[in-house]
Amino acid sequence: MSADDFSILLLTLRVAAIATLVILPFGIYAAWHLARRGGAARTLFETLLSLPLVLPPTAVGLLLLEVLRTRGPLGRLLDRAGIEILFTWKAVVLATAVMSFPLLVRPVRTAFEEIDPRLLAMGRSLGSGPAAVFRRVALPLAWRGILAGILLAFSRALGEFGATIMIAGSIPGRTQTMALAIFQRTHIGQDDAAMRLVGVTVVLAFAAVWTTEILTRRHTKRTGT
């Protein structure tokens, strides 16, 4: 691996880690409410959440670009506050966060749904308020699902391409993650250099998915008392 490869790897890992951390509280919050509610509102919310999974990533990227551009609704506010997002590493974080969010929510929601609601009721009856029951009963019982969600979201973040290139471009040293670098190197005929990065991504993805598999399998096998 060259020094260049290494800094690309670091940037990718850093961006993916930050994106995963940023969406973690929101993801857990969304999963908790989805697991506990029913009805049309839930279906609508769930569909909206899943859109990034099925839309072309470039379409999501373009939507984000529309919202964030200087003359856009949010962009004007950010511009006034002196916050620059588009075509910086923050844009990479934003794109990967949006694309990874549904992958975080799904396993966490499943884990929450598997909790016997009577255990939550017992927690209340034993003197804990809703927030304390969430912290002391729901979170510990769902930790495998949460870990699986984190790994899935992180893996997805490592490989994000379409939305990223729309709002962050592919600026070497600033916004060029591995997925973007592989494309660019192939484009300019550096196939060997691209292949080195492919090797790194394969190792990373393998490790992440392998761990997720083990976690989720243990989770489904575990039986209640």
Binding site: A121, G123, R124, S125, L126, G127, V137, P140, G224, T225
Partner: protein, 354 residues
């Protein structure tokens, strides 16, 4: 003092209970699906659709007309569900401590509860690694450790084999007598109700059909609950010791019974035994030359029949007994109120409860 005047819509009927319960221990009887568990959950605050009024020792925890609905965590009610519902991610100690408030008396209360329920050897183990009877004791300890003003016990002995039942029932009585925590006790077993409770209510299809003394409930329960078991509960004192190999004698009122001896059967010590209705033999002829140690003349009080089973109640040796016979044999014997009979009970049919 538990004041109830509540309504809860259930899939098949409405639970409607209006009662003022003054006894410290109240048995809740009734067939399966009659709303007993729903009643406990409503009192615990776990049924948001309930309406009406609930006051515990004068404090209103629910009065929907006045917009009062205390959440479960504010009611200070200890609920022990039928399947114990322990937290699988916490060890026994973690479960017991779950509801303890940080206060000065905490350590002492923990020690006391662990001692009374004899769960010290289990503290480091997880719920999946202990037996059903142990789980029930832990669930009971967990509820008591919150220092509740009322305990709600949902069939704590259901599905527990008779030997184990004999071991748990004394813990309940200890909780009642030593910790002075009042409780509502859901059970199918009228004998258990009589041993544990001072007052009983009977539910049927969500409606209150009886409130009063457990003994009276026993008589009416055979009509509302064909599944109920009517263990005969005898409470007495041990008589003078005989030989080591001999059964002990238990004096109940004026009558003496031969019961299995153990090391605690010192003369003058009090004891409670149960006898299953299946173990009470009924004869219309005087019994002689029979191996059973306890033979007493008596008279049939009533003979309820449900399905293929007959439940004669017999006054004998100053006690009301419930026996269980097949309907066919009850008819062959011609059992009807007023008939003179003899009952026979083997000494080993007496199971020590405390």
């Amino acid at each position: 003092m538990i004041e109830l005047d509540l309504t809860l819509p259930l899939p098949r009927f409405h639970l409607r209970v209006a009662a003022s319960l003054t006894a410290n221990t109240v048995a809740v009887l009734g067939p399966s699906g009659s709303g007993k568990t729903s009643l406990l959950e409503t009192i615990a605050g776990l049924r948001p659709r309930a309406t009406g009024r609930i006051a515990l020792d004068g404090e209103v925890v629910m009065d929907t007309a006045a917009g009062v609905f205390l959440p479960p965590e504010k009611r200070r009610v200890g609920y022990v569900p039928q399947d114990s519902c322990l937290f699988p991610h916490l060890d026994v100690a973690g479960n017991v401590r779950f509801g303890m408030r940080a206060s000065n008396g905490e350590a002492a209360l923990f020690e006391e509860v662990v001692g009374i329920l004899e769960i010290a050897p289990l503290l480091a183990r997880f719920p999946s690694a202990i037996s059903g009877g142990e789980r029930q004791r832990v669930a009971l300890a967990r509820a008591i450790a919150t220092a509740p003003r009322l305990l709600l016990l949902d069939e704590p002995l259901a599905g527990v084999d008779p030997a184990l039942k004999g071991r748990i029932l004394p813990y309940l009585l200890r909780v009642r007598d030593r910790l002075q925590i009042p409780f509502l006790y859901v059970t199918h077993n009228a004998g258990e109700a009589r041993a544990v409770a001072h007052e009983a209510i009977v539910l049927r299809e969500g409606a209150l059909t009886f409130a009063g003394a457990p003994d009276e409930a026993l008589r009416s329960t055979s009509l509302v609950d064909p599944e109920a078991r009517f263990d005969n509960i005898l409470s007495g004192t041990f008589g003078a010791a005989r030989g080591v190999r001999e059964p002990a004698s238990l004096q109940v009122g004026q009558a003496l019974f031969a019961v299995p001896a153990d090391e605690s059967a010192r003369p003058g010590a009090t004891a409670v035994f149960s006898v299953a209705p299946d173990d009470v033999l009924v004869s219309t002829q005087p019994l002689e030359g029979i191996s059973a140690r306890n033979v007493h003349p008596g008279r049939i009080l009533s003979c309820d029949v449900s399905g293929a089973t007959a439940w004669p109640r017999i006054a004998a040796a100053g006690i009301e007994w419930t026996a269980r016979l097949t309907r066919a044999s009850a008819e062959e014997l011609g059992l009807k109120p007023g008939l003179d009979v003899w009952i026979a009970v083997k000494s080993h049919a007496f199971r020590r409860l405390r």
